[in-house]
Assembly symmetry: C2
Homo-oligomer: 249 residues x 2
């Protein structure tokens, strides 16, 4: 019986993988990976059979129960099984369903954490998510609604935290901004959008909730993180990043 | 004039560094690092002069303004300056003060994200911070109080989010738990403590807010993350991790 490693591939750029993840990929017998993992990252798995089990928003998706069946089958026939997920496995990665099913099948699981997208967005913007006297709490939320979930469940955390990063926000920034303003966030609250963080096609934009609420945006080409909070209006940071500012939408 | 790289060293284990961070350390001319960075990580900086500018809770600390002066001086006399911070630079790392001062001095800054401690704790516990139908929001907060901060500012985010990870919680778990219960979280809310995440001396414990509120804990040897939320009571995960459960305190 093999062992399954749930491994974070990091936010996009292949060199934002951890050393441990790189070593595991090199020794893997089989790799089951998400759709958005960089080809250079997959190329590290020289010895491995590779299976794309990716769920990509709006494109063909693989059912979670198929992924779980494939993982169990892989562990029965391979020694080192790597389940490679974008970002960190434990943030919006549906990892628990896979961990629980593997445990139930008697298969050993180890989790290798990765750099989650919100941290890459903060690095790209050169804005710390926490700041003395301004922000000591940070929330990661998603406005994406699955079955069995109501649409407003993300609001209490987004309203309660000083800095908020919304994952999978592409196509939803207008509704999110309007929702936050309706719930009491001032329209002047600074916001920032980061598309395709850490990749060559990365785009950044500084704005406000009011501006986002006032217009629908064209479809983005890559994943979009929406950042909201006073820290994103920091004058020095915006000025410095402004030199390479790049509107997108 | 050199360039300053604010680099995340990851949560503790040296192989949870990113490939980019490792490469930068190898080419660094000078490294200014926090106290808790692993010696094997520092050893990657073969060519570099190394300066410990670490702030360690309860031990000798270096003033932030000294660190900033040292960074500016380093950039004036070295080409590749690495400022190495535990975890991710943009989460509780006081990075903005350094970024703003460097920008004001006309020095170029790049941020290399890292694996933040909360993600390492989730990996150690084998519990996803998000879970369909249970948790779609995550908050990172710190109960540590600096100057100009009131003691309760972390509560709205901690109450609003489904899963909460409290950084720098050593010595404060009783007060935090009592505070959360007073603010409306049920005493039966599952909680977990992770000490020295990812290191050989790592310790994990599953408990509840009520149990934490009822007793003071002995001083921990390493940094402690306190995790609160329904996901930390997941029956399968607790049972699986229970095999190697290790009470500490």
């Amino acid at each position: 019986m093999g062992k399954v490693y749930l491994v974070g591939a990091g936010p996009g750029a292949p060199d934002l993988l951890t050393l441990r993840a790189a070593r595991l990929l090199e020794s893997a017998d089989i790799v089951l990976h998400d759709a958005l993992v960089h080809p250079d990252t997959l190329a590290l798995a020289k010895r491995a059979r590779r299976m794309d089990v990716g769920k990509r928003y709006g494109k063909v998706s693989t059912e979670q129960r198929f992924i779980i069946r494939a993982l169990i089958e892989a562990a029965r026939t391979h020694e080192v099984v790597v389940r490679l997920k974008g970002g960190d496995p434990m943030i919006f990665g549906r990892a628990q369903e896979e961990i629980d099913a593997l445990h139930a099948a008697g298969i050993e699981v180890e989790v290798v954490p990765g750099v989650t997208a919100a941290l890459a967005a903060a690095a790209a913007l050169r804005i710390s998510l926490t700041r003395r006297g301004v922000a000591r709490t940070v929330a990661f939320v998603t406005p994406r609604v699955g079955r069995d979930e109501s649409e407003s469940e993300w609001l209490p955390a987004a309203i309660g935290a000083d800095s908020v990063v919304l994952y999978m926000a592409a196509g939803a920034s207008q509704a999110i901004a309007a929702n936050l303003i309706r719930s009491g966030k001032p329209a002047a609250t600074p916001a920032a959008l980061v598309e395709s963080a850490t990749l060559a096609e990365e785009k950044r934009e500084f704005t406000t909730l009011g501006a986002l609420a006032s217009a629908e945006r064209p479809r983005a080409a890559g994943p979009v993180l929406m950042c909201v909070g006073e820290v994103f209006g920091a004058v020095e940071a915006v000025a410095a990043a402004g030199a390479e500012r790049c509107r997108f939408g």
